[in-house]
Symmetry: C2
Subunit: 316 residues, 2 copies
């Protein structure tokens, strides 16, 4: 018997690990992954959606286990050639990965929505769970540093997160419409849980919450919202989360992430090393190993998150 | 001392062989190759210029000696991936080759002309000679067969030249403007020769001649026009030239190609096996080996063509 739909909010690498875990322990029709598209950008004339791709590659078993992004068994002939022609080569696009961007760009130009393209790619790659962008409209995360406002991928990839982050902006978010199927799922009742994956709160989850209507729909969905901390012992597993928190004047801690999500959270799964640090939070805390290295780790954490949500539902 | 500029009209594979030969025996500033763009098409959202690419790859030493098109040391990961996403995979695009199409498409969308893109690619690839498209405007060769009018690459690649050709049309040619530097070269005086490379007359050379002003400028350039026959002993070295001639009601012969070019030709280089067959032509005939297998073959034929042109100039 179905326990209801699980809606997971996710960025790229870290979030995709838990999304994969969830997809392994849930029937396909009980998982909907909402992907951040604030990292999306246009590069070499191609429409690139890094978080959607990391998620779909992970769920399809096509992900590159060494990098965490891109595809396994990748080749790099395109990159080796583009530079010689004067093309930009700071964003690494593998030859297999490129097929995704070229075909997506063709379809978007042909008036398909990003949701339609993503859904069809998932179907063709054999992914049972749904993956949908937070919106089909254009939202672009921008970073303010000493040099003024720069595009997210300029900060993230070209400058390798070196600039000190003073502020973030999600350009276009204020007028973006939430993805309709996501809203329907949140409003449809019978939801089992909303899971906030262990992604960077500032650049992966907050762009999703910034789309008008989404935060309220999540809060009002009648299901527990359970987050997994992306911070373990004051450090991010991958990426600039901890550095960014310090630069934004926050403590790099699991507790500070939870405070950032505020009263949205009913439950919070943190690594045992952080259990003491989150003792004062209003939400229910579940200490559990959150470092996901193996597939078994991902499945185990998914089960912990679902159990935490189920316990909260029964209590309410 | 400069003997003057040589302007060569060329399609893809066969023409590129002679263009390479010419580039090896001429100083770079004395060769201008005018490329057919009637084969150009949009595929997967990319702007593809097959003849320009075959020429530039050949001149840069990046060509694939096995296929005659595409790049050497090529990999095919993109092709292996695009089909799984529902993308069209009937036109083979290698991973290195793809860099050319992606960067060209980006620049064309950024309002550069095809001439500018091609000139910059040549410079970056170390090509001394100039390669220019016949026009920066859109011309598209179309083929009429039993199924009506179809796009050229549909006929040529997807259907592998199987349809019987009833007629050809160069869509857009009537309003296309000839490439300005090509016109300036033809009108500038001091030309040594105009060389019609051993390309398919119907689909490689006639699209060039169909651009308003180009045929007249070639005829009035004051330099001998010398063609090399693409037919040897009734057969085409590569491609559908002979089949197409028969379907269009012409004899598949070196003589029929020369008659097609008509009074444009001052000189005609044919293989010795065809010398008897072209005996009645009005233009000067030079029998010489025209099958180009080695680099030495290409250079030798280039020298024969230039000598034929120089002899015609001295006579006039």
């Amino acid at each position: 018997m179905s326990k209801g739909l699980v809606v997971a909010l996710s960025g790229g690498v870290g979030g995709a690990k838990l999304a994969l875990g969830l997809s392994r322990v849930l029937p396909p029709e009980e998982l909907l992954v909402v992907a951040n598209t604030g990292d999306d950008f246009e590069h070499l004339g191609l429409s690139i959606s890094p978080d959607i791709d990391t998620l779909t590659y992970a769920l399809a078993g096509l992900d590159n286990p060494e990098t965490g992004w891109g595809r396994r068994d990748e080749t790099w002939s395109f990159m080796a050639s583009i530079g010689a022609l004067g093309g930009a080569d700071w964003f690494r696009l593998g030859d297999r990965d490129l097929a995704t961007h070229v075909e997506r760009t063709r379809r978007l130009r042909d008036s398909q929505t990003l949701s339609q393209v993503t859904a069809d790619f998932c179907r063709r790659l054999g992914i049972g769970a749904r993956v949908l962008p937070m919106t089909d409209d254009r939202v672009r995360t921008r970073v303010r540093s000493d040099d003024g406002w720069i595009d997210f991928q300029d900060y993230f990839v070209r400058q390798q997160c070196r600039p000190v982050v003073q502020a973030l902006d999600f350009e276009g978010a204020a007028t973006a419409r939430p993805q309709p199927d996501v809203m329907a799922a949140l409003r449809g009742g019978g939801l089992r849980a909303v899971v906030i994956c262990p992604s960077n709160p500032f650049i992966s989850i907050e762009p999703i919450l910034a789309v008008p209507g989404l935060r309220a729909a999540i809060a009002g969905a009648g299901a527990p919202v359970v987050a997994v901390s992306p911070i373990i012992g004051g450090r991010a597993v991958k990426g600039p989360t901890a550095k960014m928190m310090q630069e934004l004047g926050l403590e790099a801690s699991a507790a500070a992430v939870a405070r950032r999500y505020g009263d949205l959270l009913a439950g919070y799964v943190v690594d045992p090393v952080d259990a003491a640090g989150v003792a004062g939070l209003a939400c229910a805390v579940t200490p559990a190993p959150t470092l996901m290295t193996t597939l078994a780790d991902k499945e185990a954490l998914a089960r912990v998150v679902l159990a935490a949500a189920d316990a909260l539902r029964q209590r309410s």
